[in-house]
Amino acid sequence: MLELKGFACGYGLVQVVEELDLTVPSGRITALLGPNGAGKTSTLMAIAGHVEVQGGQVLFEGEDITRLAPAERTRRGIALAPEGRRIFPDLTVAENLLVGGYTQTAVAARETEARVMALFPRLQERYRQRAGTLSGGEQQMLALGRALMARPKLLLVDELSLGLMPAMVELCFRALVELKVQGLAVLLVEQNTHRALAAADRVAVLVSGRKVYEATGEQARRDPEMVDSFLGLKEMA
């Protein structure tokens, strides 16, 4: 589905990720882990088209999308639930979802919306509420729901559990698993290593902008200590 080849990204003169090769297959959750500042968010934002790709290629369904505008990527099937959620606070829940499905026809959007509502019934209850007044968890659901409205083939999720209470974290992870079962490719960035390992089919670890470890979910789960050491936490702790 998505393939990064010799990928590098950064901000002007600073390159924060280099020489990254990564494959994100459909029907799988791929977890991208790493300590703070490793470049996970930057990678995700670069795939979505918001951060400058400074080297290598981004291939999506075999086509080079390295230089495409963000909107065009969405049209091709990439959707983003960004770090910090970044819902539109002044718009209602309904309007947020409308923007999410902006590239879809009205009919398709209505259909997708029904599915999102089935996934997150809470959003139905808050349908006409200003999104800025939702609680943290509800906002996270909205961010996921908004991304799903674009009917993506690839979903990019940054910090799914940040600031969520445990029940909420659980709910959101369940939703992800359900989506992957439906055939979606998911690229997940997460600090909650245990939770991420539990859900992931593939795991890659990024440290200081370089990939230091890659394995299947099975392998990684068998040896979480191993992952920790790659995260650079083991020897510090």
């Binding site: 969405t74 539109f88 309007e95 947020n96 590239t103």
Partner: protein
């Protein structure tokens, strides 16, 4: 009767403000830019309208031409001036905008002369309708109608259409909106276009009302426009409307009753300051 007349005068004048201020609100809401250079768009509209009217004798043609000319200038200013400095602190755009205003005002003077031009025939202005002791001329009536209709259309657009929702999404987070397929650059150009057409049309109307089009005619109304968008609660469209009308009325009464104390501009800005000291977020703005 006298008070009713003062009120009416204020309302009509407030409508002119509204047409100017709505555009400023659009631009501010989207880009956080205090678009002082809107004044030159207004003035260009007035000049083009006047030249076309004097040439063809048709006011309809004048409005269309003015709207188009203004509608071209606004997005052009965005492209050449604002777009490259969007990520800079806001005063950068403000000073650049003031630079455009100074240069263009002088440009108008060089091209059209310092004296100002007037309409060869201005039947709208000379045709008055009388109701009891009140009289309004056709220009004033058109101003009121144009302001109300255009603002209603805009309100419908913003809340009821997909494009309107996309516009508001862009206001709150352009990068993410873009990511969902909203063409941010398109929305920005469109906003400048709408704002500029409004300003251009307002320019012709004010030109007709004064029967005079001059190089500096836009600056004061544009400063007041900025005061209005702040008064209304930056980026808030209904607030802008309310503030425009209120300011028109305050000025209308103030120029009579505070005549010995301060002039018209001072009255307007004193009102602004007093309101903001009581409600720092503006009349209909949201506290943060």
């Amino acid at each position: 009767m006298y008070y009713v007349e003062l009120l009416l005068v204020g309302l009509v004048w407030g409508c002119t403000y509204a047409m100017m201020a709505l555009g400023l609100t659009l631009v501010y809401g989207l880009l956080r830019i205090l678009h002082v250079a809107q004044a030159t768009v207004f003035t260009l509209g007035a000049y083009v309208g006047l030249l076309v009217a004097n040439h063809t004798g048709s006011l309809a043609a004048a409005f269309v031409a003015a709207g188009l000319a203004a509608g071209a200038l606004g997005p052009l200013i965005y492209r050449l001036v604002y777009q490259p400095i969007l990520d800079k602190p806001p005063f950068v755009a403000l000073v650049a905008s003031i630079g455009v205003l100074i240069a263009m005002e002088d440009g108008f003077r060089l091209v059209f002369g310092p004296y100002g031009l007037s309409f060869a025939k201005n039947t709208w202005f000379t045709t008055s309708l009388r109701f009891g002791g009140l009289s309004l001329n056709l220009v004033q009536i058109w101003i009121a109608i144009a302001a109300v209709v255009l603002l209603l259309l805009f309100a419908l657009f913003a809340t009821r259409t997909r494009a309107g929702v996309a516009w508001r999404a862009t206001v709150s987070d352009p990068a993410i909106a873009e990511s969902f397929g909203v063409s941010v650059s398109g929305v920005r150009h469109l906003s400048f276009f709408i704002a500029s057409v409004l300003a251009g049309v307002a320019g012709v109307l004010v030109g007709l009302l004064n029967n005079l089009v001059e190089p500096g005619m836009g600056s004061v109304i544009s400063y007041k426009g900025l005061a209005i968008i702040v008064l209304g609660g930056l980026g808030n469209v209904p607030g802008t409307l309310l503030a425009s009308v209120l300011l028109g009325v305050v000025e209308s009464f103030g120029t009579v009753y505070l005549d010995k104390v301060m002039d018209r501009d001072a009255i307007a800005f004193m009102f602004l300051i007093v309101v903001l000291m009581i409600r720092p977020q503006g009349l209909l703005g949201k506290a943060h």
